[in-house]
Subunit: 439 residues, 2 copies
């Protein structure tokens, strides 16, 4: 009955996405979407997969950080319950020596997230449920036990979290049924990369509407005149009823953000995402107060303590969780509860490689068992690299279909891992050969 984790494989996987300018924005001109990837294996042959998302160089550092967590996992009973998953999360994030490397931020924290998420993939697999259903089936007491309330109690106590979860119990089954029937609302960033020509932007924006999306997103922050022109083109292409979010990827200081968004405001942007440093709580609050467009951030927010303050300071209109930046499902449950406490909708960041696959589970859990609502909520969708996953996301008429396969939808295909392993996989060997010939 009791199985043990005996295998812990770490892979450095990179996709040469910079060749196409997919994913190009004002701060990240040439990302190579990458994953520091971990596979847990148990004595009965079960597997748990998890990863950190990075954009290329330094992925090996994140892989080294995951490797540093091996002794905490190998030899451990295979996690199956909320108690097991809480124990692992607390052990990884409270280890005093490793904590010094953050604390609770950056490479070491992302690595903890990869391992925690792999454990959730494993446990949900044992339960025979997708993670969103596995989470939604836990009791309020079990869910609260997953959360580290350290540094949160001035904004959210365990009792308040219990009350939120208990209030959401009526209607859980009905909402789960609606979710299975209709899917969860999505928006698409595919039209809006900075590296795309205007004609490509317009064509992809129109295609997005034809595909059933009610929201698209444009990258901004490179050049104001270009942004005004692109925003105007996009607004004309999609008409007045489709929401257009804009995303500056941390490009601005406070005054610049206010000035820039005042110039884009006539085209009615739905939100301005990452106007400035993700660490700048007071800066986000000043930007929100200084111009008319709603403010969103979160994909680079390091941990629950910073999210807490963004909410306390009234700095954001939308909380953008990321599945692989904080310490996994456990910390994201805390952030969902904080957002519910403050009544702020959660609209996750996704894209990259595998982030859509993971984060859909968290929004669906939020809908069924935490906030109980999908009003004003959308999950980002980017149409890249899904073909490398065993259970890729399914988008129908602009909505994420609820996953049915057991686990976290995190598993990359073995062939994709082998081909994109860095630096020795065939994709990278071929690229080096091409570079040698052309140089």
């Amino acid at each position: 009955m009791s199985q043990t984790v005996t295998g812990f494989e770490v892979h450095d996987i990179r996709f040469p996405t910079s060749e196409q300018l997919d994913g190009s924005d004002a701060m990240n001109p040439d990302p190579d979407y990458s994953a520091a990837y971990v596979v847990l294996r148990t004595t009965d042959g079960a597997e748990g997969h998890g990863f950190c998302f990075t954009i290329g160089r330094g992925n090996e550092v994140t892989a080294a950080a995951i490797e540093a967590l091996r002794p905490y996992v190998v030899g451990r009973p295979a996690p199956r319950t909320a108690a097991d998953l809480a124990a692992l999360y607390f052990e990884l994030t409270h280890d005093s020596q490793l904590r010094w490397l953050g604390p609770e931020k950056g490479v070491m924290h992302m690595a903890a997230g990869a391992v925690v998420n792999a454990a959730w993939d494993l446990a949900a697999g044992y339960a025979g449920k997708p993670v969103w259903e596995f989470l939604a089936g836990m009791t309020p007491e079990e869910l609260v036990s997953l959360v580290d309330f350290r540094y949160l109690s001035d904004a959210l106590t365990p009792d308040e979290a219990l009350a939120i979860l208990r209030a959401a119990r009526p209607g859980r089954d009905e909402r789960a049924a609606r979710l299975r029937e209709r899917g969860y609302p999505a928006y698409t960033t595919s039209p809006g990369w900075l590296g795309y020509a205007d004609s490509k932007l317009v064509g992809l924006a129109q295609q997005a509407v034809a595909d059933g999306f009610e929201q698209i997103k444009l990258k901004v922050g490179g050049d104001l005149d270009d942004d005004v022109r692109r925003m105007k083109l996009a607004r004309e292409a999609v008409g007045p009823d489709i929401r257009i979010a804009v995303d500056a990827n941390q490009r601005w200081d406070v005054a610049e953000a206010v000035r820039w968004m005042a110039a884009l405001a006539p085209y009615e942007p739905h939100w301005i995402e990452e106007p400035t440093s993700p660490d700048d709580i007071l800066g986000h609050a000043a930007i929100r107060a200084g111009q008319p467009v709603k403010v969103a951030t979160g994909e680079h927010v390091a941990n629950r303590v910073v999210f807490k303050q963004l909410l306390q300071a009234g700095a954001v209109d939308f909380v953008q969780i990321d599945a692989a930046r904080v310490a996994g499902v456990n910390e994201n449950v805390a952030i969902l509860l904080l957002a519910a406490k403050f009544g702020v909708p959660v609209c996750p960041h996704a894209g990259g490689v595998g982030l859509c696959e993971l984060v859909q589970h968290l929004s669906m859990f939020d809908f069924v068992a935490v906030s109980g609502s999908w009003d004003d909520r959308v999950i980002e969708y980017v149409d890249h690299l899904h073909e490398h996953f065993a259970d890729p996301v399914v988008i129908v008429s602009g909505r994420y279909s609820a996953p049915t396969a057991p686990g976290f939808s995190a598993r990359m295909l073995p062939a994709s891992i082998a081909e994109h392993s860095y630096p020795d996989g065939p994709v990278w060997q071929a690229r080096r050969t091409t570079e040698e010939i052309s140089s």
Copy 2:
């Protein structure tokens, strides 16, 4: 004339300090003081040394992060000027792919700091000056050019920074002369580790006063009754005129910090250090407002953007820079300027391994060329591991003597590096042998 950096050596160095409970506090019960250490070597045989400080496990992750910076340094002209040092700092911290791993926080940011500091050691060595003097000899324009004002302009503009530095120009030579003559005020943490018995605490506190220190520090946050007893013993040991700071090492939530400090307040603590998460700007502000003791933090503050907000929010009475947590001298110049703008004294964190050696230069530069004052300012001093450095700090009558050797005082002795290399140095091999025999 123009030399090139050709060598880039990375070492994982660890000291088994957990054996003595030196360095034990409420969050870090058993640190093994460690350094991920880098040596730059140039074509003319010059060297630059720098390091990240960690407390044991995971030091290899930080070493891997330093290694990731090799391509940015090797082949580069040896840095000598403010312009060279600014270029290196901006390149390391603005690389879009590496930036994703923070941004500007955690392992990758600390690694950038190690390399930037090594470059300062090298450049000051070429100039034949200790870093404090090398910095103090730069023009206000050169100093401003070192700073990344991104995300700072709502609190500090380049023009404001120039004005601060120009205002400090008169009296620079006179202050440098006073510094050389008298040294810079220090305080000692040596009596106060949580793992020490009461009698050892009292004896070391009395010794500190006899040695000329006017401030000591106690670790708190393990158990309130113990802390009240230890604080009372320390106050009786040193009398009413010696300042006693207390340090909770991030142990508390807001309400707990307020309650705990109210209980310690009768013994007149000089400051409460790290009462809660270093990310919790609003939490520090609430703690400062909620109890009578002054608030200090900074050793784990990730970057200049968080320091900016601590100052904007009125959250701290003392700014505790750390020489090796942020991205090196350049980012610390920004933080010194921010503190000067807000009129808040800088009292650096030190201790660990080599942190005293580095940070003394920054406080001395602050005194001579930025704030122009040492009132209310003290540098932490801990009497550990200095014997491993070529130019160890010199403490006379409770003050740091101004370093005179060229460079950053960063160089560990070759024998110390070899003996403490992990996992294969003789100190660690011997420890493993002992463990095998006793198990």
